[in-house]
């Protein structure tokens, strides 16, 4: 029997679900949030004095349990996909707050060109510059249209940074390549450290434009426009994969979710695993989910919001037969289209023999960056690839298990290794590159025909591999990071033209940024949702998150996800009032 109907049901309560719940409940709507993980034990106090790297970083306390639910991977349409049981390449969160609890806090805005990737590329380089099989698209929304929502997310989360472009006025010391902001960041940038200053100085000497990376780790106490006050970072170095005991890292559980709960209109249900939307092909009627006892429940609602991780949003649509399934052979259909990842690699490393740094201190997003080789900020003529990425040198802390680094040639174990980690633990520096991941016709998400989760539902299947465009981009990036490392001038250097392995390997950490599968756009034949993240095929269903990206940019996605969540919330309120298509 169905439960009592509510105004809105949200699947997944992380950044997206939390933002939308806060906005809708404060407008008076009755909202139910379905969270597959636990809802207790996710507050700052639960992480106090808990710098347990084994528990959180190795045994994956805050991540999806791949024994119960995972994904399968194949590199092309001819391969048989296999289930992945080892987390590595990406780290989907579970429990209240989702990955917003264990993220590092890098909070970027995408470039204006990123939202018009196809048009901008053709305008500057011609259609021939887009390789065969590449399927980049425009987003159906422009940077200028999204700017107010970026601003809202940044002020809610208290993002620390230095603007490089306010209303078209370029400001040295900030990112002069960024799109115009309406105003300065809400919080001053995190200070430079001895390590990040080395990168800053080297980049300046080479004629590049270094700036402090935008961070959700507060350098000072901050009270946001919602009246939420958070304290300053202690630079403990336990951000990524951990909850923040100080509340200095912006997190849905310390910002938007409490606002929603305070209204008395937000009912949170933990251990509730949604798997399908009951629908008639035009309207979503209710959400079907397994409760904590494994019983199937049905929650009817006027409006349904899919706010889970990329894979679960797409899987729920496919399980529901809602929207036309993508066909990678013909390139038609939309649900599952344009799955992308993030192109890492091309970094350079350095070690000093007579200089030590306080690497054990840091915060997740404490960094210096350059944007000179991102997006289309440089002339690609003759390079043989399109796209780019951000180059950063960070100080996120150096934990005792995963942050031991030694120069090339060091024995991987034994006495010599122990001597080397003692010698170099405090003396290492890295310069990293995080690149775009363009869409391809063959890359997509669908339901695996062979493997199922612990509830008996099909796993999501990923079809993805590295392509020549990204391989050439990474080779190019490696020459740039090496150039900077040489200017930093440590005693030992490792780097050079970057390379990607023969195949994409999910077992090793690279980045945790999956995108696409329920992409946004202006054309219903090539996108799942419109610019308000409202489904073309079911106007009362909204699908929100990185699944909306038509391709991934050379930045971390959370800033853009947050902006899309605020835009979706605005659209949902409009829809609740007037109904119909929002575009």
């Amino acid at each position: 029997m169905a439960l009592k109907k509510v105004d809105v049901v949200i699947i997944g309560v992380g950044w997206v679900g939390g933002i939308i719940a806060a906005e809708l409940t404060r407008a008076g709507l009755q909202v139910v949030g379905l969270e597959r993980g636990r809802t207790r034990g996710r507050n700052t106090g639960d992480f106090q004095d808990d710098h347990d790297e084994l528990r959180y970083a190795i045994r994956n306390e805050l991540f999806q349990n791949t024994a119960h639910e995972t994904w399968t991977l194949r590199h092309n349409l001819a391969e048989n996909a296999l289930p992945i049981r080892q987390l590595g390449s990406f780290l989907p969160g579970t429990g209240l707050g989702g990955a917003g609890v264990h993220w590092n806090g890098q909070t970027w805005r995408f470039h204006p060109r990123d939202f018009t990737a196809y048009t901008s590329t053709v305008d500057r380089y011609g259609k021939a510059a887009i390789p065969t099989g590449m399927a980049i698209q425009d987003w159906g929304v422009t940077y200028d249209e999204l700017e107010p929502y970026y601003d809202k997310f940044e002020y809610m989360a208290g993002i620390a940074g230095k603007a490089g472009n306010i209303k078209g006025n370029l400001i040295p010391g900030g990112n002069v390549f960024e799109g115009p902001r309406s105003r300065e960041y809400p919080v001053r940038a995190q200070g430079a450290t001895e390590l990040t200053s080395l990168f800053q100085k080297a980049a300046q000497e080479l004629g590049y434009h270094p700036f402090p990376g935008p961070s959700a780790n507060l350098p000072v106490q901050y009270k946001n426009p919602d009246g939420v006050t958070r304290g300053a970072c202690t630079y403990c170095g336990f951000c990524e994969r951990f909850g923040c005991e100080a509340g200095a890292k912006a997190d849905p559980t310390t910002t938007v979710i409490p606002l929603a709960l305070k209204t008395g209109k937000f009912e949170l249900r933990g251990y509730s695993s949604a798997y399908a939307i009951k629908n008639d092909g035009k309207t979503g009627q209710s959400v079907l989910y397994f409760d904590a006892s494994g019983r199937i429940q049905e929650q009817p609602a006027d409006i349904i919001v899919l706010a889970a991780y990329v894979f679960n949003n797409v899987r729920t649509l496919l399980m529901s037969n809602l929207g036309p399934k993508y066909d990678p052979v013909t390139g038609t259909g939309t649900v599952g289209r344009n799955y992308c990842y993030q192109t890492g690699g091309g970094g350079a490393s350095g070690w000093f023999t007579g200089q030590k740094f306080k690497r054990y201190m840091g915060s997740g997003a404490l960094s210096m960056a350059i944007d000179d080789f991102n997006a289309d900020n440089f002339d690609h003529s003759g390079l043989g690839f399109i796209g780019g990425g951000s180059i950063t040198s960070g100080q996120s802390g150096a934990r005792p298990i995963q942050s031991l680094t030694t120069p090339p040639g060091t024995a991987p174990f034994g006495r010599d290794w122990k001597v080397a980690i003692q010698k170099y633990y405090a003396s290492a520096i890295s310069v990293g590159f995080q690149g775009e991941s363009p869409a391809y016709q063959a890359h997509h998400l669908d339901l695996d025909p062979n493997y199922r989760d612990s509830f008996g539902n099909p796993l999501i299947r990923i079809t993805f591999d590295w392509q020549p465009n990204e391989r050439k981009m990474i080779a190019f990036a490696g020459t740039k990071t090496l150039e900077i490392m040489k200017a930093i001038n440590p005693d030992i250097i490792s780097g050079g033209p970057g390379s990607l392995p023969a195949h994409y390997d999910t077992s090793v950490y690279q980045s945790t940024h999956n995108t696409g599968g329920a992409i946004m756009g202006a054309d219903p034949s090539t996108s799942v949702v419109n610019s308000y993240l409202q489904m073309w095929d079911a106007s009362n269903v909204f699908v929100v998150g990185a699944c909306n990206f038509p391709q991934n940019a050379g930045f971390n996605p959370t800033g853009t996800v947050g902006a899309l969540a605020y835009r979706a919330a605005e659209g949902i309120l409009k829809y609740h009032k007037s109904g119909g298509s929002l575009v």
């Binding site: 590199h75 092309n76 349409l77 001819a78 780290l91 990955a99 264990h102 993220w103 590092n104 890098q106 065969t132 099989g133 990524e240 994969r241 066909d327 990678p328 052979v329 890492g344 690699g345 970094g347 490393s349 997740g364 997003a365 043989g384 950063t392 960070g394 996120s396 995963q402 680094t405 290492a428 890295s430 990293g432 995080q434 391809y440 016709q441 063959a442 591999d465 020549p468 391989r471 050439k472 990474i474 080779a475 033209p497 970057g498 390379s499 990607l500 392995p501 023969a502 195949h503 390997d505 090793v508 950490y509 690279q510 980045s511 945790t512 940024h513 971390n556």
Partner: protein, 67 residues
């Protein structure tokens, strides 16, 4: 023909054979390979329009950690 029987976009040549080398690719096929990129570009089978890039070893080691 079902999608699982057809691979219209991805290259048939498996790059695992070339880990640690540079390859030149044309229309999804490896036309030449060499550990030295300059020697590869000078290879008589390699055209200026070919995709030339290094193939890495499986990932390992020191990563910039950022989520």
């Amino acid at each position: 023909m079902s999608e699982d029987e057809e691979a219209p976009v991805l290259p048939p040549d498996d790059l695992e054979h070339y880990s640690g080398e540079w390859v030149a690719m044309r229309d999804g096929r490896v036309v030449a390979h060499d550990p030295d990129p300059e020697k590869l570009r000078a290879h008589p089978d390699v055209r200026e329009t070919d995709d030339v890039f290094p193939v890495g070893e499986p990932p390992s080691g020191f990563y910039l950690i950022n989520v």
